[in-house]
């Protein structure tokens, strides 16, 4: 609903999030006051001063603790990485064989400088972790990205008790409530079956790390052959080495295109309907394109991509999931980052929770691309980079509704 009418911006008026301007000012000037004093917010990202390391830095730093291997969390060029045991090979696969990675088992505590660090499963993708940092009796947990739903390709989310919980909020609106994954897979499989009957090749856009493997586990291989893009092949190998059982798939390309045409399923991170790579899989009745993403719950996002179908399946927690994780952390303070920060913060405050915004990579709420669910896929060796982030940013953080 658009509010029309005259309105003036003044100190006496709350902004669109119902936050008093002075409180907003406090946020911008003194937001780190809400974080415990041993965590500083630097231009490179959150920094643990007594430990001497960054958490998911967004620029190359000396020492980085990484929650998971998606490119918006694992940046190239750091001297030393600390990640979970399952995450380390993914980091090597994506950032280069020669990086220095130190790995930890889930729950294993190590001393780093004056703090104690441990990693705990976050359920987002293979090897994803929440970072627990303890310093002089205060425990802070950085959730990274997480989901609570069951996923055979990732260790299940474990709530970690802490004093301060920094949660993501990509889908922090009550419109986002996921259906059980089995239902979504049922729908994907029946879509595939129907395409096969009508001579169309099914194409699923899903990113190469995490979503693709989760989807592969949900597909019904009895329907037809499954082909995957080279970027997915690379990730699959790491998953297989970690003991995740995936169905047999083809490395989709010229040689096996005839096998896939009209009856197969192609899983690819390349979100471009007309790419020459895809066209070779054209069945007698062409291709049927679909995307798998949490954003697909919204009709506008589905329509905008001009795809035939959109399946709402996400590796992020939904509204209920976020609220449950926050509750189960039993933290006194909740920092909200990455996504619907302002909405989630206000909601939590109204529930009597001491919540604050932890700014993400880009200041304020101005820049696109920050809450894209789609990280870059890896490229096949020797191939030219393919455009992957063509899925438009839905910009869900940028809302500007005037409060009535």
């Amino acid at each position: 609903m658009r509010t029309r009418g005259r309105c003036r911006y003044s100190l006496a008026r709350r902004d669109s999030f119902g936050i008093h301007p002075l409180a907003r000012l406090y946020h911008y000037v003194g937001f780190t006051a809400a974080l415990p004093s041993f965590i500083a917010l630097t231009p490179e990202g959150p920094y643990c001063t007594p430990g001497g390391f960054h958490i998911d830095p967004w620029r190359a730093v000396d020492r980085a603790v990484i929650t998971h291997a998606h490119s918006d969390h694992a940046v190239r060029g750091c001297r030393l990485y600390l990640a979970s045991r399952a995450c380390a090979p993914l980091l090597r696969a994506r950032l280069g064989r020669d990086i220095s990675v130190q790995s930890l088992d889930y729950g294993q505590r190590v001393g780093v400088g004056d703090v104690t660090v441990s990693l705990h499963p976050a359920g987002h993708v293979l090897g994803s972790a929440q970072v627990r940092i303890e310093y002089r009796g205060h425990v802070i947990v950085f959730s990274g990205d997480y989901k609570l739903a069951h996923d055979p390709t990732a260790d299940g989310f474990e709530p970690v008790r802490c004093n301060t919980f920094i949660t993501e909020s990509t889908f922090g609106l009550p419109v986002f409530r996921w259906e059980p994954a089995e239902l979504v897979f049922e729908r994907i499989n029946s879509w595939w079956l129907r395409n096969r009957e009508e001579g169309r090749t099914s194409v699923l856009f899903a990113y190469s790390l995490g979503k693709s493997q989760r989807v592969l586990c949900g597909l019904d291989p009895s329907i037809g052959p499954i082909g995957v893009h080279g970027a997915v092949v690379g990730m699959n190998e790491v998953y297989a080495a970690a003991g995740v059982v995936l169905p047999n798939v083809l490395h989709a390309g010229e040689t096996n295109a005839s096998e896939l045409r009209g009856r197969g399923m192609v899983v690819t991170p390349v979100a471009s309907g007309a790419s020459p790579w895809l066209r070779r899989f054209n069945g007698p009745d062409g291709l049927s394109l679909a995307s798998v993403s949490g954003w697909m719950l919204i009709r506008g996002a589905r329509r905008r991509q001009a795809l035939d179908r959109g399946f709402a399946l996400s590796d992020h927690a939904d509204w209920d999931g976020l609220n449950r994780a926050i509750k189960e952390s039993r933290a006194e303070r909740i920092g909200v980052t990455h996504g619907q920060t302002e909405v989630m913060t206000r909601w939590l405050r109204e529930q009597g929770v001491d919540a604050f915004v932890v700014p993400t990579r880009y200041t304020g709420e101005t820049t696109a691309a920050e809450d894209q669910e789609y990280p870059e896929g890896t490229q096949e060796p020797g191939s030219t980079p393919e455009p992957i982030n063509t899925i438009p940013n839905t910009g869900l953080t940028q809302t500007g509704e005037q409060k009535p």
Partner: protein, 624 residues
């Protein structure tokens, strides 16, 4: 309701016409007639009365979801559609939000569409808030998320499914096993959503004798690239493209219709398929004075006939008529008596009860000419005119005629193949192929343009939700930018993404949902007409503004000024009637509030963008 929601999903998901028709046909064949009757009612674009205000609906939603109202607003902003937002936040089957949501809805109860329409939607306008809330909650307790979404769409006044009426007609024609054109004719006009009416529509014989029904209009395709000037154009009839209200005048005195709107067998239909007989009593008089029963196709125009000028007045003048029901319902302007109307007839569809649509245009035209002549001979003061046809031999000539359109008070030329029949809807055909198969073409004069600066932006809705796609453009006046047009269309997705990121990084401040942005981007804005408007700060308003192109070669300072816009005021119409006092002109053009949207003329009329309330009213009487 489940079946209807599934149909909605199928139509929504599919991009192919054949799939859509198949889905529709399956639906109409598969459901009971009483449901199909309502399905057809909604699918053919008919509306119930506004059932419930969004405020009441929002209150119910706050109650049912347990969420604060501000959070619903945030959700709405993110989703971009109120119906969808509500459908998503309402818990399924009385579950609270904290419980895991199961949206399978597989075992849920079902309501028939008839139930939903007659028991839940129709009584709503008569209900008070409490009763309405009870009905809404009842619906929510039974419907699942997808069905709720469709239900909300039915409640709102803007239920759209993305099927043209034509497709519905083709699906029904398939189901009934009759010709699609006959079905389209059956679907026009009044329709009550009852099982009987639906069966009648599907019947083989059909109620084709209803005397009030209009024929589907033959529509024209915009001509983008004309053939070479030396190409032969002798197979084409060239007429002016009038800027008025398209109307079908029906006189079937021999057969009385059932409807109250029909008196003496005369009824006037607008292109938006509304009866406008009462708004234009002159047309009724015209029809009564005709020598025989006919159905005419033509254009209603406001007309000026003075010593110095004979020609049509701008559409804005005609607009003042549209919302008045009766002639004696006069406005303070007394415009009703001042504005003279003419009916510019250009086609003949029926003569003495016989359908003439399949006869060639040449033959229809000859008959039309003789009828107009006869009518004007018997009643010299008749408002009936024959839309002149301009003789041409080559496409070069057509171009010349078009160049003179402004002088003639027209907005371009119409091209009709002289051997063609009167088509249903829009038929393109091959411009240079066999003209007998070609449809009508319209070749408009180039729109006026101004270079405006982007000064404000708002999030779009629907497909463009959460992108800044609704823009306000300003012109310079004394060193400040005054808003003059709002435009939503004309940019590619890629350009929209770039403007979106500009808006996000250059927002000066926010006024509710509107971001005022730093002047920097310049766009060429095209529009069809310009008029004075004391209600706008810039003192002018433009009609159908859209973005012609992004002028990234220009800086904000290089954009146009209000003065340069005012020069355009005199280009059209004005120059043709230098004797018309300026005062009278501006008085005529200031349409009263609320009459801007012309329901009678359909959706493609009266497109003046006039929503600048955010910037406050104009300081004084503008440029009047």
């Amino acid at each position: 309701m489940k079946r209807f929601a599934r149909l909605y999903d199928e139509l929504d998901d599919s991009n192919r016409t054949s799939d859509k028709i198949a889905s529709l046909e399956r639906y109409f064949r598969g459901v009971p007639a009483a449901d199909a009757a309502w399905g057809l009612y909604f699918l053919s674009g008919r509306r119930t009365k506004r059932a419930i205000t969004s405020n009441v609906l929002r209150k119910c939603a706050v109650e049912a979801s347990g969420l604060p109202e501000w959070l619903l607003s945030e959700c709405h902003a993110a989703v971009g559609d109120f119906s969808e937002t509500l459908a998503l936040v309402i818990p399924d089957h009385g579950m609270t939000t904290s419980q895991p949501s199961d949206r399978s809805g597989k075992d849920s109860l079902d309501l028939t569409l008839k139930d939903v329409a007659e028991r839940l939607i129709l009584p709503l306008p008569m209900c008070n808030e409490t009763e309405a809330g009870a009905l809404i909650r009842e619906a929510w307790s039974i419907l699942n998320a997808r069905e709720r979404y469709v239900f909300h769409k039915l409640l709102s006044v803007n239920f759209r499914v993305g099927v043209q009426r034509r497709l519905v007609a083709r699906a029904l024609a398939n189901a009934a096993g009759i010709d699609a054109a006959i079905m389209e004719h059956r679907l026009l006009g009044e329709y009550a959503p009852t099982a009987e009416a639906f069966s009648a529509i599907l019947s083989a014989a059909g109620p084709n004798d209803d005397a009030t029904k209009p024929y589907p209009f033959c529509l024209a395709t915009p001509l983008e690239s004309p053939p070479a000037p030396d190409t032969d154009a002798s197979a084409w009839q060239v007429e002016w493209k009038w800027d008025g209200i398209r109307a079908q005048v029906i006189r079937r005195s021999g057969r009385g219709g059932r409807l109250a709107v029909v008196r003496d067998g005369v009824v006037v239909w607008s292109r938006g398929e509304e009866v406008i007989t009462d708004q234009f009593p002159e047309l009724r008089a015209l029809a009564l004075a005709l020598p025989r029963d006919v159905v005419l196709d033509g254009e209603v125009l406001a007309w000026e006939e003075t010593a110095s000028r004979r020609g049509p007045l701008p559409f804005a003048v005609l607009q003042t008529r549209l919302n008045r029901k009766h002639r004696n319902d006069r406005s303070e302007h007394g415009l009703f008596d001042q504005t003279d109307l003419v009916y510019m007839a250009y086609d003949l569809i029926e003569v003495d009860g016989e359908d003439w649509r399949s006869r060639p245009l040449r033959e229809r035209r000859l008959m039309l000419e003789s009828i107009v002549k006869e009518a004007r001979a018997t009643s010299p003061r008749s408002v009936l005119r024959l839309s002149e046809s301009v003789p041409v031999s080559t496409w070069g000539d057509v171009g010349m005629v078009r160049a003179g359109a402004t002088q003639a008070g027209a907005e371009g030329v119409m091209l009709k193949p002289i051997n063609s029949e009167y088509h249903v809807g829009r038929i393109r055909g091959d411009l240079l192929g066999d003209p007998a198969n070609a449809g009508w073409w319209k070749w408009k004069i180039d729109p006026m343009t101004l270079d405006g600066v982007l000064i404000a932006a708002q999030l779009g809705s629907g497909k463009r939700a959460s992108l800044y796609t609704d823009y306000t453009f300003g012109l310079w006046k004394d060193g400040i930018l005054l808003p003059f047009a709002k435009a939503y269309s004309g940019l590619s997705d890629d350009e929209i993404a770039r403007v979106d990121s500009f808006v996000r990084t250059h927002t000066l401040r926010r006024l509710g949902p509107v971001c005022l942005v730093k002047p920097g981007l310049v766009f060429e804005i095209a529009f069809e007409a310009i008029r004075e408007s004391p209600r706008h700060k810039s003192g002018i308003a433009v009609r159908f503004p859209r973005i012609a192109r992004w002028r990234d070669d220009k800086r904000a300072e290089d954009a146009d000024t209000v003065e340069s816009a005012r020069l355009l005021l005199n280009v059209r119409y004005g120059s043709m009637s230098p004797t018309t006092p300026a005062k009278k002109r501006s008085g005529q053009m200031s349409t009263p509030r609320g009459s801007r949207r012309s329901r009678a003329a359909g959706t493609d009329r009266a497109g003046y963008a006039t929503q600048f309330d955010l910037f406050g009213p104009a300081p004084t009487g503008g440029g009047a």
